[in-house]
């Protein structure tokens, strides 16, 4: 089983690269799942994704694929609702779903989305997928996806929270007598700072949410160790020509710090250069535009050379992909990228 995680800033084509990598593996005979966060409408149509829906199998008959390609949308709201109903008792689940903090929590989806990715990885493994391709939200949030399970696991293991009961009454009546003096002082300080009601609502919520969260935390720890195993999980940084030096440094630093293995840097959307000279039959206006085009594509080529030189010793695989003339629409465009990937990256026996 392999997990590939794609990180990068917004607009660099992470989702397309993740989907194309999935397609490439499916063509080579593997059972793959692509989990994506926010695909363009047409990519969504190609992958037959719908919010709240279950994973969909993409029809690869036209490409005579050996394997299977499935796609799923990482939709935090519905994944979370499902998890609450799945892991909580019915009455408990209803209380959680109606709690004001739960509403705020679902509203602040950015963090939850990543949290839910962990949940989905666990489900996907149970479903027997061989390869997972996971698209992440841009920049900082992508890394929170890796931090949050720890926070969550730690939160539910705090003794204070273990003592917190379901209601304020119980909370106020018995908790304080069971706390040590130091913890109580600390708690009082935090409460003063953040406002007693806010803190209590949050604590109250997490106390109800606890059994659900404990199950989650167990799965999160399991997934977390899978993500740290370089034999299972590798990271791909996706960027574009002018951003690659900066993005590469940033993500490599952040992932190294968390002890994750970065295997690939993809410099996406290079304008293809053809070179050569154009004949006298080219009208002057067109010649001006072509010259402009060429200076862009030359600048891209030079940027790629600089990036390859800078990262060749630090990242095992460096790949550049050409911009397609048309937007990514449909399987044929994905297959084109998959083809570019395949020609650069021969499949190694495992």
């Amino acid at each position: 089983m392999r997990i590939r995680i794609f990180v990068g800033t917004g607009g660099v084509g992470k989702t397309s690269v993740a989907a194309a990598s999935g397609l490439k593996a499916a063509l080579a005979g593997r059972k793959c799942l692509v989990l994506t966060i926010d695909p363009a409408l047409r990519l969504r149509t190609t992958l037959r994704l719908d919010p709240g829906g279950i994973d969909q199998r993409v029809d690869l008959a036209s490409l005579s694929a050996q394997g299977e390609l499935w796609a799923g949308l990482l939709d935090a709201g519905s994944t979370l609702n499902r998890a609450v109903r799945l892991y909580g008792e019915p009455r408990q689940a209803e209380t959680v779903l109606r709690h004001p903090v739960y509403h705020s929590l679902v509203q602040s989806l950015a963090g939850m989305q990543e949290l839910m990715a962990i949940e989905r990885i666990d489900q996907a493994l149970a479903d027997g997928f061989e390869d997972l391709f996971i698209d992440t939200a841009p920049s900082r949030h992508a890394l929170e996806f890796l931090d949050k399970p720890e926070f969550f696991a730690q939160l539910v293991s705090i003794p204070l929270l273990r003592l917190v009961g379901r209601t304020y009454k119980w909370f106020e009546g018995s908790m304080f007598s069971r706390l040590g003096r130091k913890s109580l002082e600390l708690y009082t300080k935090v409460e003063e700072l953040l406002g007693a009601k806010l803190v209590r609502q949050v604590l109250d919520f997490y106390s109800i949410f606890r059994t659900i969260a404990e199950g989650y935390a167990d799965r999160a720890r399991r997934t977390s160790s899978l993500l740290h195993d370089p034999k299972t999980t590798t990271f791909t940084i996706v960027s574009t020509a002018f951003k690659a030096a900066r993005d590469g440094d940033y993500f490599l630093g952040e992932l190294d710090r968390r002890k994750f293995h970065v295997e690939t840097l993809v410099v996406n959307r290079l304008w293809p250069g053809v070179g050569g000279s154009f004949g006298a039959d080219v009208p002057p206006q067109a010649a001006g535009l072509i010259a402009w085009y060429r200076s862009v594509s030359e600048a891209h080529a030079q940027a790629w050379e600089r990036v390859s030189a800078a990262f060749s010793a630090r990242i095992p695989k460096l790949i550049c992909l050409s911009e397609l003339a048309r937007d990514i629409d449909g399987l044929s465009a994905l297959a084109q990228i998959a083809g570019q990937l395949a020609s650069l990256d021969p499949i190694r026996p495992e």
């Binding site: 607009g11 363009a40 963090g111 050569g276 067109a286 010649a287 862009v296 003339a325």
Partner: protein
């Protein structure tokens, strides 16, 4: 400018990731700073911080006047919350204990919207010139290089959510922030987009959400990285170079440009039809010698076309 008003005008550059919000925020800031106005550019994510340092290297030598007027600040909400703790707890030891406690750290991370709220509160302090920082100054203009669409909308909505869902000190703050954000005289929203399907879809969605959910409408719409075919004043004849006009390699490049331009044009028209805001086209620079040269050129094109709006 801004002498009478007690509040600095705030310009917000928002939009999809990767469309050039940070670069254009700096360019717009540079344009005003070159004219002698003091400008503060506020960023909220760690990546641009790096980019900013690279982009502005050499500014002092090239534009000493602008360098004295252009300020960049990176706001980390964790730091703001941390400072609040230090202010309220006089004992340094106790403050450190609270800050390093797992209870505090975990609460900060999971209390929904707390970080966003802290960020907005700081932004308002800066705009209202009430910064607790003694060295802070009154800026003629604030530019917020906002996070990508989803997180941006969520940040704006957070003030309202706190207002709706929770009570306590943060609910009061939430109400104040909602008022602050809803003053169109002080706040100008400039969505930035590139003419690609995803970005255009997202921009249309963003504008409609801003309008419907928050009662805000964009002051202008920036179309970044446009091709010279779109940026050109007069229509270029795409048939110029079609048919049997030679087999050279130039043909492939021409075809690529024409294909891209057809998409670009369609998307531009869709934007015009769906978003009621003045469009401002910023062309793609083919190459530049330094980041600062790029910013200078962008400042010229952006500043001039936005003078009526801001």
């Amino acid at each position: 400018m801004g002498d009478v008003s007690l509040q600095s005008p705030l310009v917000i550059l928002c939009g999809k990731g990767g469309v050039g919000k940070t670069t254009l925020s700096l360019a717009l800031g540079l344009w005003h700073a070159r004219a002698g106005r003091s400008v503060l550019v506020v960023t909220s994510h760690p990546l641009p911080e790096l980019a900013v340092t690279i982009s502005l290297s050499g500014l002092k030598e090239r534009h000493p006047e602008a360098a004295a007027h252009l300020f960049i600040v990176h706001i980390d909400p964790r730091e703001i919350l941390g400072n609040k703790v230090k202010q309220q707890i006089p004992s340094e030891f106790l403050a450190r204990t609270v800050l390093s406690s797992r209870l505090y750290q975990n609460l900060i991370e999971v209390a929904p919207g707390l970080k966003e709220l802290a960020f907005l509160a700081r932004l308002r302090q800066l705009a209202e010139r009430k910064s607790p920082d003694a060295q802070s100054r009154a800026y003629d203009l604030l530019i917020w290089d906002a996070p990508a669409t989803g997180h941006f909308l969520q940040t704006l909505k957070v003030s309202r959510n706190f207002d709706t869902y929770l009570s306590g000190p943060f609910a009061v703050l939430g109400r104040e922030l909602t008022n602050f954000l809803s003053d169109p005289a002080q706040i100008k929203i400039l969505p930035v987009t590139i003419l690609e399907e995803m970005a255009v879809d997202e921009t249309i969605e963003l504008c409609s959400e801003l309008n419907k959910e928050l009662g805000m409408s964009p002051a202008a719409l920036i179309c970044n990285l446009a091709s010279p075919l779109l940026a050109a004043q007069e229509e270029v004849d795409l048939g110029l170079f079609s048919g049997g006009q030679g087999e050279g390699s130039a043909c492939a490049e021409w075809q690529f440009m024409v294909d891209r331009h057809v998409i670009e044009k369609q998307l531009y028209q869709r934007l015009r039809a769906e978003v009621a805001a003045v469009p401002c086209v910023v062309g793609r620079m083919p190459r530049w010698n330094s980041e600062l040269e790029l910013l200078d050129t962008l400042a010229d094109s952006l500043g001039a076309s936005l003078t009526d709006v801001l």
